[in-house]
């Protein structure tokens, strides 16, 4: 452990990408090599900072660490207040890691307007990191919305054929949810102000979370937060933007979208919705559990018949993220820790899957499963890696996916065996769609379509291996030694459950 | 010759008779302004209406206003309007249709508006009003004008100046630029009409 007192670690993490983006703005766009180098360098520096934060982190300390508070709009008591606990830490590291991987993975595929692309990407990273670190509701909301714009551009400019439809759908859908959340944030702050007579701390999570808002108010505010987060997660039935966005986004966009953006919703529930409105969370947990179960099974079943690789993975995300919400809303230590672990795992695994699909797309310019086949023979290393991540996604023990999923199961079973029994069926469906897809892509003889490509169908190259390697290692490490994450989130989850009060009872069976 | 206190036989005060006559003139000519087929006749009826109004002002004892009414409206504005009518009527003949196709709707709407206004006036007791007009000297008016409303008075001059400057700009006939001048042609299609 290293001492980091007095160093604004979190600001360094958040704003490193911003600095990178500003530097890029002044680099001539024609100098693609420099642009790429600066972007990757920035991503790596941010990653390094986040590792520094990990090294300096006190695991046993239940509160927020590295807190920084700067008064921003004192009129309303709005502050630049950031802090990190175990949950933020896990997701921040995930974000910085996936960001530089995505940047690296974009080197090949992004051939036009590289500079703008990289600037968008770094801006996106700023927003995501800010969301995970903000402790001020207003600040949180700002970062939350900032995420939207670069993603909008990334899908809309560098995306596929139907990108404009997809990107507008993405933005509008998310915006509808988040704008209502803004109303709730402001209402919450005001409720605090009117009760205490002061705006001081009215937007500060740490002062607000112990504050007992009245029941009706909690209900409405929670619903507004819920809508925002549910759309982001996305929970059934707010998920239909996801397949479109994923299919149209460039590879790295999909990686970040699945890897980090979806986690914003889950994180929002944990960090804001539950501590602020515990009563409402209790009241609505039953419904949310049911929605999660639907998402889990429904997403998996719909995945089975998807003809497009990316769409399949997108729907599988709906299913996998269902575990996250399920785990959160059963209000048990195991469920919640499992949910967080599942977020990290899903980020790694699905990110890797999208990278794999992207690598394939680079060579074939196609993602239709029907056109694939026999790739195990044509691109053996790729097939091995793809298969590896598929099995991780299936939830094979020893790889990352399993532990989170199982913890959610266990946590759910303790509350509602029936819910667990329903959820556990995804073990079958998940295997069905992934293995069937893998069979059609990698096995049997190469299709006519692939044969025509001839020698263009080369195996994975060095840079691509480099993008997948960290994820590969992490998938194994987190499967074998999940304590790496679980230890960090133990205390915060205990704290959240403590804030929530009584365990969930009578919500569901 | 002294008139009797009231109108013989009717028992109405003279003022009332004057009021009725003026009201007839005012409303009748106003209607004619609105209804007349020929716009020039409309304009002339408007002069009459304005004059009738001046009569009312005089009847109430607002002599300054009455005078101004004659000067400004009857004198200046009417002439201005008539000039404009002449200017725009010269080439194309009088329009075959005076009224817009929505005239019936307009009639109903304005009737309702009028009824609402009249009823709201009738059903309201104006708390500060006296039963009869009050004598007001020109001096009072002048004092108000140049003391209390001095700023407004200054501003009015500005307003008129602005109107004049703008009016001149808009109405003046520019040296028609050469139709072959690309600038002019582009200008014509500069807004909205393009694809």
């Amino acid at each position: 452990m290293i001492s980091l007192s007095g160093i604004p670690v979190l600001s360094l993490i958040i704003f490193t990408p911003l600095v990178g983006a500003l530097i890029l703005a002044f680099v001539p766009g024609a100098n693609v090599r420099a642009v790429k180098a600066i972007a990757l360098g920035t991503g790596l520096v941010a990653f390094a900072f986040s590792i520094v934060a990990v090294l300096g982190f006190h695991i046993g300390d239940p509160g927020f660490q590295y807190q920084e508070t700067v008064s921003w709009i004192p009129f309303f008591g709005i502050q630049y207040h950031v802090g990190m606990d175990g949950i933020s830490l896990a997701l921040v590291v995930l974000t910085t890691l996936l960001s530089w991987i995505s940047i690296l993975a974009s080197f090949g595929p992004i051939k036009t307007r590289t500079k703008e692309y990289m600037i968008s990407f770094l801006a996106l990273e700023v927003g995501m990191l800010g969301v995970f670190l903000a402790l001020d509701l207003f600040l949180f909301y700002i970062f939350w919305e900032i995420v939207l714009v670069p993603m909008y551009l990334i899908i809309g400019i560098w995306g596929g054929a139907n990108r404009i439809y997809a990107t507008i759908k993405f933005v509008l859908y998310t915006l509808v949810g988040s704008l209502l959340m803004l109303v709730a944030i402001l209402a919450t702050a005001f409720a605090y102000q009117s009760a205490t007579g002061s705006w001081n701390g009215a937007f500060d999570l740490l002062t607000l979370k112990g504050f007992g808002f009245d029941t009706t108010f909690q209900l409405f505010s929670f619903l507004a937060f819920f809508l925002a987060f549910a759309i982001k997660v996305p929970m059934w039935p707010f998920h239909t933007w996801l397949p479109d966005a994923h299919v149209e986004a460039p590879t790295a966009g999909s990686v970040i979208l699945a890897g980090v953006l979806l986690k914003l919703g889950g994180y929002g529930f944990l960090r804001f919705a539950l501590p602020l409105y515990p009563q409402a969370a209790h009241d609505l947990a039953g419904i949310i559990i049911v929605l999660s179960l639907i998402a889990i099974i429904y997403g998996a079943i719909v995945s089975i018949v998807q003809p497009d690789l990316k769409k399949l993975i997108a729907y599988s995300s709906v299913s996998h993220m269902g575990f996250v919400t399920l785990g959160i809303f059963v209000f048990t230590q195991q469920g919640m820790q499992g949910a967080i672990l599942q977020m990290v795992n899903h980020g790694i695994i699905t990110g890797a899957l999208f990278l794999c699909v992207g690598i394939l797309y680079e060579r074939t310019h196609d993602r239709r499963i029907a056109n694939m086949g026999g790739l195990a023979g044509r691109m053996p290393v790729w097939a091995v890696l793809f298969g590896f991540f598929i099995f991780a996604s299936v939830g094979l023990p020893g790889l990352a996916g399993f532990v989170g999923e199982f913890l959610v199961f266990v946590g759910t079973f303790a509350v509602s065996p029936v819910a667990a029994a329903v959820a556990v069926f995804v073990m079958i469906f998940g295997a069905v769609y992934l293995l069937w897809m893998f069979q059609r892509v990698a096995f049997v003889e190469p299709s006519e379509f692939l044969r025509k490509l001839g020698h263009h169908l080369t195996d994975i190259d060095r840079v691509e291996v480099l993008t997948l390697a960290p994820l590969f290692v992490l998938t194994i490490v987190l499967g074998v030694y999940p304590a790496l994450v679980l230890d960090f989130i133990q205390q915060p989850v205990t704290q959240i459950l403590h804030d929530l009060g009584a365990p969930l009872t009578g919500a569901l069976l | 010759m002294a008139l009797p206190q009231t109108v013989p036989y009717l028992g109405w005060s003279w003022d009332d008779i004057v009021f009725l006559v003026l009201a007839g003139v005012l409303l009748g000519s106003s209607l004619m302004v609105v209804m007349s087929r020929n716009i020039i006749r409309s304009g002339l009826f408007m002069v009459l209406a304005f004059a009738g109004l001046a009569g009312f002002y005089a009847l109430m004892g607002a002599t300054i206003v009455a005078a101004a009414q004659v000067l400004i409206y009857v004198g200046a504005i009417s002439v201005l309007i008539l000039f404009a009518v002449m200017l725009t009527q010269s080439k194309s003949g009088p329009a075959s249709l005076v009224f817009h196709s929505q005239a019936w709707a307009a009639a109903i709407a304005s009737l309702v508006v009028g009824l609402l206004l009249v009823m709201s006036v009738m059903f309201t007791t104006w708390p500060l009003a006296m039963p009869t007009p009050i004598e007001q000297s020109a001096h009072d008016v002048a004092t108000l004008l140049f003391r209390d409303y001095v700023l407004a008075f200054e501003v009015i001059s500005l307003l008129l100046l602005a109107a004049v400057i703008g009016g001149i700009y808009l109405a003046r006939r520019d040296i028609i630029p050469d139709p072959g001048d690309p600038l002019t042609r582009l200008d014509a299609a500069s807004d909205g009409e393009g694809p």
């Binding site: 700067v70 709009i73 004192p74 009129f75 307007r113 703008e116 909301y141 700002i142 919305e145 900032i146 714009v149 909008y152 551009l153 809309g156 400019i157 404009i164 990107t167 933005v171 509008l172 915006l175 704008l179 209502l180 803004l182 109303v183 402001l186 702050a189 009117s194 | 206004l117 009823m119 709201s120 006036v121 059903f123 309201t124 104006w126 500060l128 209390d148 409303y149 001095v150 700023l151 407004a152 501003v155 500005l158 307003l159 100046l161 602005a162 400057i165 703008g166 700009y169 808009l170 520019d174 600038l183 002019t184 582009l186 200008d187 014509a188 299609a189 500069s190 807004d191 909205g192 694809p195």
Partner: protein, 507 residues
């Protein structure tokens, strides 16, 4: 006139004098737009400096007492509100003048007349901001709108411009008559033209449901006319036509100047004079606000002409600002009432910079005559003129209300006041937010066109003149800085709140 009166009126005088000066300059050096622009810019900056710097002498900038100082026999007031609005109007004038040459010069439209007319209008707006008397209010309003009609028709050889102008003029005069009748009712009922006098007279009608019918009718006339001036639905019909027809810099001006000034009228008339009977007009304003923003946004969605689209969108923004007024009318406690007014003022500022900025981008794009204001003109702008594209994107995002832009903070302040008010105001806040999402639909369409569509075959590079560059920079910086810069945001919030408070002292 006393020294105080001179000082209080000094900004107005400077601006009015500047209008005359511009005409003289044009007479001396005809057809030298650069000189006109330069003189106007310098003059406006001077007026702004005077407005702020003359403060200590007249008791401004913090030393100005909250209740302000009334001059000219109680017809004009210099208080926090009027100073705030004056500066805002001058900023509008400054930006408009900076943006104008790029559009006017290639079309052979005279800069001098434009500038003079614009400055007359600004004078009217400034008078409106400080008017304490119905008469001054009316005359200020006329001084504001009459030059507006002329500006709308400024491209007098362009059929669309004059068509827009005559529509604007006819309907505007119609609404002026309605307004005047409303004023007459109020004035007849209360027996005074003084704003405070009216408020005093009306104090007995504090509960809803006990207005004499004549006063109610007057109120209806005033609401109608005022709604027309701010372009609220269903009195908004003129807006799209006038906006589309006007020369683009004029459209930019029309979308902010008369609108903000009309809100100043609403503040002086409805809040200050009719404040005691706010329970009677609050609900109507609330309903109009909801209808206005919804209709404005819906109508903007399918619009292909960007000026017309921004016209509809400005209707929607009117709705947003009206929420602040509704908060004032319906809020139970003075603090929340002040917050509502603060929302109006803060949003007006944000709206000014972002909307003017957006129009400036359109006008810069149209520098080359023949470029239409169809959205398709923006195709590939992100690549043809990257900086212009970035600026336009910024303004559009701000109009949507994406943080950390001024538009977002403006909305936040208004919504905060609405949730403070509670009750149906919260519903209004939710409607506002849903509308913001709706608005994203069409604003982002422009971004799509700029970045995601290929430019037309014959698209030529876009060049921007220096004044426009400066103006765009100013607008962009303001759009970003309001909210993001702690010091600026804080002082703006403080200032708007004290302006609101000073207004409410009289109400």
């Amino acid at each position: 006139m006393t020294q105080n009166e001179w000082l209080a009126i000094a900004p107005v005088l400077i601006v009015a004098g500047l209008a005359l000066l511009v005409i003289v300059v044009d007479l001396v050096w005809p057809r030298r737009p650069a000189i006109v622009t330069g003189a106007a810019v310098v003059g406006i900056i001077a007026a702004m400096v005077v407005t702020v710097a003359a403060g200590p002498i007249a008791g401004l900038s913090g030393q100005l007492p909250l209740e302000g100082q009334t001059v000219f026999n109680g017809t004009y007031i210099q208080d926090q509100l009027s100073v705030y609005l004056d500066l805002l109007f001058m900023a509008i004038a400054l930006l408009t003048i900076l943006f104008a040459p790029d559009y006017l010069e290639p079309r052979g439209l005279p800069m001098a007349e434009f500038t003079a007319t614009l400055l007359f209008a600004i004078t009217g707006a400034m008078l409106l901001a400080g008017a304490q008397d119905l008469l001054l209010l009316f005359i200020g309003l006329e001084l504001l709108v009459l030059p507006g009609y002329m500006l709308a028709g400024f491209a007098k050889r362009d059929g669309l411009s004059t068509e827009g102008a005559i529509k604007y003029f006819l309907l505007g005069s119609f609404s002026s008559a309605i307004l005047l009748f409303g004023l007459a009712f109020v004035f007849g009922f209360t027996g005074t033209t003084n704003i405070h006098g009216i408020a005093d007279q009306l104090r007995s009608f504090t509960d809803s449901g006990n207005l004499p019918v004549g006063l109610a009718m007057g109120l209806a006339l005033l609401v109608t006319a005022a709604a027309f001036k701010i372009a609220a639905v269903p009195f908004h019909y003129w807006t799209p036509d006038a906006y589309q027809g006007s020369p683009t810099p004029v459209t930019g001006y029309l979308s902010v100047g008369p609108k903000v000034a009309a809100f100043a009228l609403l503040l002086r008339l409805f809040v200050e004079a009719l404040g005691p009977i706010r329970a009677d007009w609050g609900l109507v304003i609330g309903i109009l606000a909801a209808v206005t923003m919804t209709v404005g946004n819906l109508a903007a969605i399918g619009q292909d002409n960007i000026k017309r689209m921004l016209g509809y969108s400005s209707i929607a923004h009117t709705g947003y600002i009206m929420v602040g007024l509704a908060v004032f009318a319906a809020a139970p406690d003075p603090a929340t009432q002040a917050a509502g007014i603060q929302g109006v003022l803060f949003y007006a500022l944000a709206y000014t910079v972002m909307n003017l900025g957006a129009f400036a981008c359109v006008s810069a794009l149209q520098r080359r005559p023949g470029v239409t204001s169809q959205i398709s003109s923006f195709a590939g702008l992100g690549r043809r003129a990257p900086l212009l594209g970035v600026a336009m994107t910024l303004f559009l995002l701000s109009l949507v209300g994406i943080p950390p832009t001024a538009g977002f903070f403006g909305k936040a302040v208004i919504i905060l006041s609405a949730v403070q008010g509670g009750g149906w105001l919260t519903v209004l806040a939710v409607i506002l937010m849903l509308n913001a999402a709706l608005a994203a639909f069409y604003y982002l369409r422009v971004v799509v066109t700029m970045y995601m569509r290929e430019p037309a075959e014959n698209a030529r590079p876009v060049t921007i003149g220096t004044p426009t560059r400066v103006g765009l920079l100013l607008a962009a910086v303001a759009t970003l800085a309001i909210g993001l810069l702690p010091a600026l945001t804080g002082s703006m919030l403080d200032w708007t709140l004290s302006a609101a408070r000073s207004l409410l002292l009289g109400a």
